[in-house]
């Protein structure tokens, strides 16, 4: 139990670092053509390939009207996906941030991510769940 709770904490906070892995800037997203092709709930797995961040984390994101949303109150998510499936996201919290780019296709997606400071980087995959 001790370690599970520790894990939960790490996940909650690490999202601030890692979750950003999957997309671009809000401004960029809004500037692009809206698409609802990818609207829905997505489960994203982040893999750290470089640095001392969590080896892998899974988190949920919702895409609505092409804009990426998250229900978490503890960090900010900004990003969008365009009709081609290109996606860009920035996640920030408490002065830390990470960004990710990649592509969605059908019910799957993949891409790369890195923290703004370059501390950690890796890949991400996504699966549509609803």
């Amino acid at each position: 139990m001790k370690n599970v709770m520790r894990s939960i904490f790490v996940a909650t906070v690490a999202l601030l670092l890692a979750a950003g892995a999957s997309a671009p800037s809000n401004a960029a997203g809004r500037a692009s053509a809206h698409t609802r092709t990818f609207d829905g709930d997505w489960s994203v797995i982040i893999y750290t390939l470089q640095g001392d961040c969590s080896r892998s984390l899974r988190y949920s994101l919702r895409i609505f009207d092409g804009q990426i949303q998250a229900e978490e109150q503890n960090y900010q998510v900004a990003g969008a996906v365009v009709a081609s499936g290109a996606i860009r996201v920035v996640v920030a919290e408490g002065g830390r941030s990470a960004s990710g780019i990649g592509r969605l296709s059908g019910s799957n997606g993949r891409g790369t991510w890195s923290t703004t400071t370059g501390e950690c980087a890796g890949q991400w995959t996504a699966v549509r769940r609803g």
């Binding site: 599970v4 709770m5 939960i8 906070v13 892998s56 899974r58 949920s60 109150q73």
Partner: protein, 364 residues
Amino acid sequence: MPPRKPFTAAEDQVAMISGMPDARFWADSETDYRKALPPQPGPWLILSSGGADGAFGAGLLNGLTAAGKRPDYAVVTGVSTGALMAPFAFAGSRYDAALRKAYTEVTAADVFEAGASTGESFVDSWPLRDFIAKQVTPALLDDVAAAHRAGRRLFVVTSNLDAERSVVWNMGAIAAHGGDDALKLFRAVLLASASVPGGFPPVLIDVEANGKHFQEMHVDGGLGGQFFVAPAALMTATSDYRLPVTQLYIVVNTGLQPSFKVVDRFAPTILTQAIGMAVPVDTRLMLSLSYAVAKRSDVAFNVASIPKSFNTPSKGPFDPDYMKALFETGYEQGRGPAAFSAELPSYPNGPTMQPNRIEKTGAN
């Protein structure tokens, strides 16, 4: 979240699983406990809570097999991560490979999903639910059922949050019922036993009392103790209860040393560190009780715990490299001559508060 169907304490007291009257009993019921025990004494294996540190116990069991020191335990009990490994330990060494795989290849992504509040918890545990469904197969259930019919017993503990009481699930009896309902309940109990309240969503379990159907809320079995040997009343220093055991083996799947951290002013962090402090304390107290019970029962007391020397860092939750290292530590301990100790783990004898003796860690 939708409102729950109300029920009374009296109804919950007698609630049962439909069609499976022998599926469980209250952990504080001495009568039901005695009734559920195997007909013959034998070695017991007790598996504690510990999250990712369950890799230690999984490695230990594999090492015991390698050393030819793995009996068919008459009773296996599990709490939280101990519950997750208990069916494999109970079913025998042919499941060692599955146990190894589960505790060395699992990642955080296989356990939880963050980012979407469930309204009941910080994260969602659907990945763990799916992981359990893959691991707990109908074939495993058949093997557990066969061992149950042979007189052995597999117990898993959950916490009934509505009643604020621990529940012991007779997993062999559930397995012996067979069918989809048994498989579904078996998996749900394992998920509940490992669902830290607040962190993971609770598991709602369908029950029936006097013809009324409702759902109980079950969470991590560790709330009622980090491992289970016998009802608390039988474990007290004033009880004269003697365990019907030939050898008592306890595997502690959690570090017992304090873990320093400057705690962020953030609720999950504070809760995590608080639990991290409480669990080793509870574990040590329970070990002391178990030691005393074993002594008065003239039963050999054996405990295996993570060695103080283990210091591999964990890069986040369920870090496969950390878990592999811990598995190997457990494996080597299990395979070696000192897999278990007959004595309680020693308490740290900390230094006094001497301001001038603070160790400098940097250039300053």
